[in-house]
Amino acid sequence: MIRRPGLVALLAALLTVVLLAPPSARAQDAAPLIQRMATETFNDIAGAVAALATSGSPRAAPVIEALRDNRLVYRQADRAVFIREASGSFVSALTGEPVTDAGTTRPVRLNNAVRRAIDAAMGALTLMNPDPARRAAAAEAVFKSRDASALPALEQAIGQERDARIRILMEEARAAVVVASPEANEADRITAIGVIQRRGDQDALRMLGSLPATAPPRVREAAESASVAIRRTLAVWEAVQNVWYGLSLGSVLLLAAIGLAITFGVMGVINMAHGEMVMIGAYTTFVVQQVLRTMAPGLMDVSLFIALPMAFLVAGAIGIAIERLIIRHLYGRPLETLLATWGVSLVLQQAVRSWFGPTNREVTTPSWMSGSFEVGHLAITANRLAIIIFAAMVFAALLLFLKRTPFGLQTRAVTQNRRMAGAMGIRTNWVDAFTFGLGSGIAGLAGVALSQIDNVSPNLGQGYIIDSFMVVVFGGVGNLWGTLVGAMTLGIANKLLEPYAGAVLGKILLLVFIILFIQKRPRGLFALKGRAVE
C-alpha cells in the first residue's frame, strides 16, 4: 500500500531538516523555553510549547502536561515556573525538584491557541504511552496538527504498535503529515491521500480540504476526487444518522409520554401536572448527586442508578398524594381534572422554584454516559444510546406489568367501569392511587433521563407536556404500543424533516401532519375498533 522506498527517502529528508538545523536551536536548553511560559501573552506560550515539544528535553512532557491540566504556575515576583502536584506541593518546572516555598503564584493561562499547541505537542510526546487510549488520542492529535516534527516518533510508534486499530490511526496520522508536507514527493502524497480516503470521515474531509493551494495540481486533483468519494459515502451515512437521531428523539418522547399514557391513556385523567412529575424526577437526580458529592464521591458514576429508584419513589409518592387529595373526587368528571391538575402544576412549579431557585441546577453526566463512539461513520453518543436502551426497558417492563399481573387487569377494569369494579371486589381506591402513582413514578424516571440532556429547571416539564399529549393521542389513547409507535414515528419524522425544512418549519410541518393524520384516523394510530369503544 504505502510505497516504502519513497517514504524512507522522505523520512530521511525530514530527519535531515531536523538534525541539520542550527545546533543552537536543537540543543536549545529547555530552561528558557519554560521560562517563556511565565507570561500573559498567549502567543508566546503557544510558541514555547511547540518549541519545548521538539526540544527533546525530558522536562517537556511533564511541563506540557501540567500546563494542560492547569497545574503550571509561576511566581509573580521572579517569574520562576513551578508545577503544582496533585498533593498541592510544588516542584520546579525546570528540574522537577521539590521547592519549599513557591510564594504567591499565578497559573499560566490557556486559550485555544495554546491548547492546540499542547495537543499537537502531546501527540508527538505520547505516541509511545503504555495506555492504548492515550496512544490513540496522540495519533488523532497528530492527524489534526499534521505536525511534521512528529513524524520520526510516529514512524517509530507504528513499528512498535501491536493494536491494529491504533496502528491504522497512526498510519492515517502519518498520511496526514505526508499529504500536508510540501517536502514530500507527489507520489507519496497521492498514496497518503488514498489512506485518508479510506478513513472517510469528516476529519478526513477537513484534512483534504485544508490542502494548501500551492500543492502540485496532481495532488490537488487526487485530494479533490477523494473528497468527492468521501462526501458520497458520508451522504448515505447521514441518512442513517438522521434515522438514528429520530430514534433517539423518539425515545425521549416515549419516556416523556409513557407516564402520561397511564395517567391519561389508561385512567383518563387529563393530567396537566405530568410535566411537573418529570421535573421532580430531574430534581431528584440533582439532589441525589448533591448528597453523593458530599457523602460518597466515589459513587458519582453510579449516581443515576441510585437516582432512578429515588425518582420513581418521590414522583410516585407525590402522584399518590395528588390522587388521594384531589383526583379521586373528580372521577366521572374527566374534564375537571384538567382544571385541578393545571392548578397542581402551577403550585408544583412554584414550589420547586422557591425551594431550588429559578436557575438551572447542575446534573453531572457519569463518565460512562459521556462522549461518543463511531459505528461505521455513525457517531453514537453514549447518553443517547443509554436513553434509548432505558426507554425500551421502561416500556417493556410497563407492558409486562400491565398485561401480565392482576394489578394491570384491575387497573383497566377500574378505569373502564369504576362502580362495577368495586362491586367485583376490586379495591378501587387503592388501584386508583397506585395507578396514578405508577404513571407519576414513570414520569419521574423520565426526569432522570431528561436531566442528562436538558435543563434541570422549574420549566423542564412544560417543554414536554404538549409533545407528550401529541404522542399519546397520535398513537391512540389507551394503547401502549400506540404510544411507542407514535413516539418513534414523530421522532423520526421530525429528524428527517429537520435537515431540509429547518427546525422551526419542520416542527410546523409535523404538527400539520398530525392534524391531517387524525382526520384519516380519528382515534389515533392504533385505534380500537368495534362496538366496545362506543
Binding site: 373502564q416 369494579a421 368495586g422 367485583m424 371486589g425
Partner: protein, 231 residues
Amino acid sequence: MLDVKSVDLHYGAAQALREVSVVVEPGKVTCVLGRNGVGKTSLMRAIIGHQPISGGEILWEGRDITRMPPFERARRGIAYVPQGREIFPLLTVKENLETGFAPLKRADRTIPDDIFSLFPVLKDMLGRRGGDLSGGQQQQLAIGRALVTRPRLIVLDEPTEGIQPSIIKDIGRAIDYLRRKGDIGILLVEQYLDFAEELGDRFYVMERGRVVVQGLKGEVDRDALHKSMAI
C-alpha cells in the same frame, strides 16, 4: 343472612325507597317484583353499596354494612349482576371473568367449569372483547362473572333480559342448583313473572318505593301478584 331494615333512599330531592325491608335467607330465592320505576334497582344499589341510603340499615351475616364501600361488601361474599350488564368493554371475556378473582385467595383463582357448561358461548369467545359481544352474550358474561367470585349472596337484577329462551331455561336450572346447594342466598329482581313464580321462595312486590305485598311462595296470592304488576 341479609337483613334490609326499613331503608330510605334519595336521588337528590326525590325519594326512591321508603322504609323498605327485605330479608334474604341462604338456600332460598328471594324475588323482588314491581313495575317500571318502582325502585327495584334502587334497592339493589343500596344493598350493593352503589347508592348511599338516607335511612335504615343493612345487615349482612349479622354485621352492619351500611357504610361499607362496595368492594368490602364484595369481599364479604356479595356478588352483583346489574341491570344493563356493565361489562368491562375493553377487557376480553376471559379478563372480564378474571376481575372476579379480586376477593379470592390466590389458590382459588380459577374460573369454575360450571360457568362454561352453563354458558358455552363464553368459552368460544374467551379472547373477544366484552364490549363486542351481543346483548345476550353480555348478559351471560355478567352472570358468569358474578359466579367467579364464589358468592354467598348473589344479587340478580333482571338477569334474563335479552337472553334467548333456551338459556333462560338453563339459568333457571342454575339458580335452582345454587339454591339446592343450600348455603347461597339469591336475590332476584324479575319482570318475567312466570320465571319468577317458578323459582321464587319468597316474594316482595314494590310500588312507588314501598313494599306493598310480601310473603312466601304459596302464601302470596297469585292474583295479587299479577294485579300489582298491571298498569
